[in-house]
């Protein structure tokens, strides 16, 4: 239903809705804008990574094991202390050597084949892990995986929680009783325990992590959405909608949901942060992303052993990327919540 009506004469200008006003207020918040910029930059990076424009070859072992970062300079070569190689020509064994007649043939054949072995680099931009893989590439790829999992899982949990919460809050009665029972069952055991139980059963993999987190995280969204719907269903504008004959579905999703969407958005952003952190922990424990993928969690797992040996760059990279993104995201979400807060908005 469009708000601009085809009336004879001038079309009345559409006023600013809630989102436009909030955006204007958000724009005035410097911290919020900087955070938004950083998050946007990360999203661009993730898009580039997902389309293989950057960090495509993160798995290749391009550096020497534990290569130090470029700004530190290469490691001094180790003194291995081997025994000296004896000098002088080799002893001729061709009369007792059974393979002697074939040597020349093989040497010719070998000369025709080429192998390329790129020389291992002594330093990498942000160092290398114990296999010599580029830490910077891993960090970027890890960002893609961790953020993707966090956001997708949050979206799944929010969708489930919103649908169930709306149904329970608005329709009440037996549907509410049943959903409350489901909620009680899911929240009876501590979250981590439920995650572990699901992990034990479903195994590893990105899809499973998203599923596990989504299935355990919907409860908080459900609770809040249900409370909001209960609050709004008795509000006069909903009663008025009922009085003019709007259907239950229309009342739930056309009338109430837009009024509740800012609350849901805030909770979604909280979930994103929480799930990213959970994913890191799960991957660290070996329950998260599979072996052929990298996430911040797997990087931290490797970093622990490296730290004892004095190699700190993988830990630093993973922590820096994670801290920067999560901080920026949290600050941005805070700023959005303040911009949307009805108490600061006019005379409501």
């Amino acid at each position: 239903m469009s708000a601009v009506l085809p009336i004879a004469g001038a079309t009345p200008a559409r006023s600013e809705g809630v989102w436009r006003i909030a955006w204007r207020r958000f724009r005035g918040d410097r911290v919020g804008m900087v955070s938004l910029f950083i998050v946007a930059a990360f999203l661009v990076l993730i898009a580039l990574s997902a389309t293989h424009v950057v960090a495509r070859h993160w798995q290749q072992e391009v550096g020497v094991p534990n290569a130090p970062p470029t700004f530190l300079g290469p490691r001094p070569p180790e003194d291995l202390g081997t025994i000296e190689v004896p000098k002088g020509p080799n002893v001729d064994l061709s009369d007792v050597d059974p393979l002697a007649p074939r040597y020349r043939e093989w040497a010719e054949r070998a000369a025709r084949m080429k192998t390329t072995e790129a020389p291992r680099m002594a330093t990498l931009p942000f160092g290398g892990d114990r296999l010599g893989r580029d830490v910077l590439s891993k960090a970027v790829k890890g960002t893609e995986v961790s953020v993707f999992v966090g956001v997708l899982a949050a979206a799944v949990a929010t969708t489930i929680g919103t649908l169930l919460g709306a149904a329970a809050g608005f329709l009440g009665g037996r549907i509410n009783d049943f959903l409350e029972w489901v909620y009680n069952v899911f929240t009876a055991a501590p979250d981590i325990l439920l995650i572990f139980a699901f992990a034990a059963v479903f195994g590893r993999g990105i899809g499973t992590v998203v599923l596990i987190l989504g299935l355990t995280g919907w409860a908080s969204v459900y609770r809040q959405v249900r409370a909001e719907f209960i609050k709004h269903r008795n509000r006069e504008y909903v009663r008025a909608a009922e009085a003019i004959g709007a259907s239950a579905g229309s009342r739930m999703f056309r009338h109430i949901l837009p009024n509740v969407s800012h609350v849901i958005l805030v909770r979604l952003s909280l979930l994103v942060v929480g799930f990213i952190k959970y994913e890191v922990i799960l991957s660290y424990l070996g329950l998260g992303v599979p072996v052929d993928q990298v996430s911040w969690g797997t990087m931290l797992a490797e970093a622990q052993a490296e730290l004892i040996l004095g190699y700190w760059w993988q830990l630093a990279a993973a922590t820096a990327f994670m801290a920067l993104f999560v901080t920026a995201f949290s600050l941005m979400a805070d700023a959005w919540r303040d911009a949307l807060d009805p108490r600061l908005r006019g005379a409501d």
């Binding site: 029972w181 489901v182 009680n184 069952v185 899911f186 929240t187 009876a188 055991a189 501590p190 979250d191 981590i192 325990l193 439920l194 572990f196 139980a197 699901f198 992990a199 034990a200 059963v201 479903f202 942060v273 952190k277 890191v280 922990i281 660290y284 424990l285 070996g286 329950l287 911040w296 969690g297 931290l300 970093a303 622990q304 730290l307 004892i308 830990l315 993973a318 922590t319 994670m322 801290a323 920067l324 993104f325 999560v326 901080t327 949290s330 600050l331 805070d334």
Partner: protein
């Protein structure tokens, strides 16, 4: 009062049944075949079949469910598939270690976060408020793992102030030597979310009319904060602690893994890695029961704290 108690206990039953159902169905239909797990990688077909009969897996699923229920009611949980240790024994021996670490963490978290939150809420919008909020945001963005890794490295490995890992049989030794480092790290991490949460509670209370009345009566700001506001804020704070309590039984499994503390969290983690289903199932159901009892206790505590509550 008694009617309320009976009704609440009565209402727990369907939830408990739901949890049992969830755990049972989850493991039955999505989990791997237990007979294969128990048999191990080298078992032959006949061995696996024999195990299957022994575990009763060839019976129809609802019969298995009934057996399962009976086991729960009689607290006869069977044994761990990996260590053959009785699960109830597992609980009894691992729980004390978890509690020795988690209870100090819970207490310290609350005691430190409360005054900070109150101060920050009172001075809302000021520079100190904004600074602390930013600090907590940044602190929250760094994974717990990083704190532990660096903490262990710096305090245990480099400086040698605390042992890097370990546990002993005596509670006193534990509290004095092995517990400080993990508790310190956990509290440093836990303060940030707690402060933010409590801050929102205090802000909420400070916006109420009775605060204005208290000021109008001539009360000092201190009396307003510590007598009027704190007393009202206790209600959501107690809710929060009540919600956090069940979590301490699983403990911070990360702490237990990193510091080699033989607690329940570490046990569950080991069970997950070994596909030791009985341990995971038993822990889930037991903890669900415990959570519900704690919720009931919290609700009863409400009556003491909030006179408006009518237990029906």
């Amino acid at each position: 009062m008694w009617a309320y108690l009976i009704r609440r206990l009565w209402q727990m039953v369907p939830t408990l049944i739901g949890v049992v159902l969830l755990v049972f169905l989850l493991f039955k239909f999505f989990g791997a075949d237990p007979a294969v797990i128990v048999g191990g990688l080298n078992a032959t077909q006949e061995q696996v079949a024999a195990i299957r009969t022994q575990l009763g897996l060839d019976r129809p699923w609802w019969v298995q469910l009934l057996i399962y229920l009976r086991e729960i009611v009689t607290f006869e949980w069977g044994r761990s598939w990996a260590t053959n240790e009785a699960v109830s024994n597992l609980f009894a021996t691992r729980l004390p270690a978890t509690l020795t670490v988690m209870v100090p963490i819970l207490i310290l978290d609350t005691l430190v976060a409360l005054p900070i939150a109150m101060w920050v809420a009172y001075r809302r919008g000021s520079l100190s408020d904004r600074t602390i909020m930013v600090i907590t945001t940044v602190a929250l963005s760094i994974s717990f793992l990083v704190y532990i890794i660096i903490g262990q490295y710096v305090f245990g490995f480099q400086l040698g102030w605390f042992p890097v890992q370990g546990w002993s049989d005596s509670t006193l030794t534990n509290l004095l030597t092995f517990v400080p480092l993990p508790v310190l790290l956990a509290v440093v991490v836990g303060i940030s979310p707690q402060t933010r949460l409590y801050r929102s509670f205090f802000l909420d209370e400070l916006g109420h009319d009775y605060v204005r009345t208290a000021r109008a009566k001539g009360m000092t700001e201190g009396a307003v904060l510590f007598k009027h506001v704190l007393r009202n804020a206790l209600i959501p704070i107690i809710t929060n602690i009540g919600l956090a309590l069940p979590g301490i039984f699983v403990g911070s499994f990360l702490i237990e893994v990193f510091f080699s503390i033989p607690g329940l969290g570490r046990e569950v983690l080991l069970a997950v890695n070994r596909s030791d289903y009985p341990v995971i199932q038993a822990t889930t159901v037991y903890l669900a029961m415990l959570t519900m009892l704690i919720n009931l206790a919290t609700d009863l505590l409400y009556k003491v704290v909030d006179p408006r509550v009518v237990l029906k």
